[in-house]
Amino acid sequence: MNVGIVSYGAYIPRYRIRVDEIAKVWGANANSIIDGLMVFEKSVPDIDEDTITIAVEAARHAINRANIDPEKIGAIYTGSESHPYAVKPSSTVVAEAVGATPNLTVADFEFACKAGTAGIQACMGMVGSGMTELGMAIGSDVSQGAPGDALEYTAAAGGVAYIIGNKNLVANIEATYSYTTDTPDFWRREGMPYPEHGGRFTGEPGYFKHVASAAQGLMDKMNTRPSDYNYAVFHQPNGKFPTRMAKMLGFQNEQIKQGLVVTHLGNTYSGSCMMGLAAILDIAKAGDRIFMTSFGSGAGSDAFSFKVTDRIEEIRNGAPSVEKLLADPVYINYATYARHKGKIKL
């Protein structure tokens, strides 16, 4: 099945809050938290930004980067754990805003932090089966962390869109492999503003078991080794988990360095490892191989193997790079952050 990435686009809100600013409010030891998480600051949405506006901006960047005709997009799947509506699709707004309506199918996906990569797999099926010429998979979130909770130091905002097709590819998807179990490590009940989690339980039985199983499963399926890849990117709820995961699997720090965007972005949930992949594509060369594994609590992982084509040079500068989106941030204090996130009710 010759299916891959035709274009990609990312969007990151301009506001940032530093971890030490959050720690100051809760009387926590900032250095200890920064050392523990390997996260220095995180992105914060503007007051009038949400999962849908971020998804639209990322989708427009993806369309503009490769000058895609939006009417050729036959499927749009938006993955998020912070869709603004409980009932009413985010993807209809995205489809209308990028000019892809009305002749297409859309749906919203939810699988904690891996709904975006589930969207990529769905698009692969649609394109591979010939049901549509192009499909768009988006991971977008304005993730929530309860005041004072550990998640508040990392729960960030951002989105990434990938256009999947079988012609004019910038990266072939060589193979994908998934690993899924019912592991309740993180959840948010209907109507609740903030998620709950199992604390340390989210580590070994959640993240490490699923990411390792999917990653190893894909390498076994393809008969590849970590040394066969130029780059690797793993779901990044913080900096420490993917760094440790890479080491456990046999990847070197140099392979994960470019895609490790969490340190100055935070965890963009459904956009997390997809943002790392975008940062890698921003500098990758023809022939480079990229290994990616997502993780969604609940729990599951999707692993992918990509091979970059020479077309990447033609489209690279058609939309802002992740580095550019991360540059020139506006730092805000906790009070402004609370206002932006709706933690202060008017």
Binding site: I47, D48, D50, T53, E57, Y85, E96, G99, L346
Partner: protein, 129 residues
């Protein structure tokens, strides 16, 4: 804004789709069905503006209607699109950065919402280039 009223203008709000008179070259936003210059001789078709323009004038709103209380104080500006038409919109930037002549581009943002359980309205605002 009622749901049907928003829905009727949705394409124009999301993508700055106005109209263009092919006879006299005039551009219109919001869209006009009839060219005010050519009248019945005009040839008016939908036109998607490129989303770039500059600030003609602006004000900073400190006392707003209830629907905009979360955003207050905010910048309200008249933007002249590169194709010619002028429209009123919010400009999202630091208040010290706004000035007449500022180059701006369209951005997709929330325009408002009815209430916590009501409809959310999306559309175009502007940000500095």
């Amino acid at each position: 804004m009622s749901v049907p009223r928003f829905w009727r203008r949705l394409k124009n709000l999301y993508n700055l789709i106005g109209t263009h008179c092919e006879k006299c070259g005039g551009y219109f936003y919001p869209p006009r069905n009839m060219c005010p210059k050519c009248r019945r001789n005009g040839i008016v078709n939908p036109f998607k503006f490129n989303g770039y323009g500059e600030v003609v004038t602006y004000t900073i709103v400190h006392t707003s209607a209830k629907d905009y209380s979360k955003l207050t104080p905010y910048i309200l500006a008249i933007i002249k699109l590169d194709e010619g038409p002028r429209l009123t919109s919010q400009v999202i930037c630091d208040h010290s950065d706004i000035h007449i002549g500022l180059r701006v581009k369209a951005a997709f943002r929330k325009l408002g919402e009815e209430s916590d359980k009501g409809m959310i309205y999306y559309g175009t605002k502007f940000v500095p280039i």
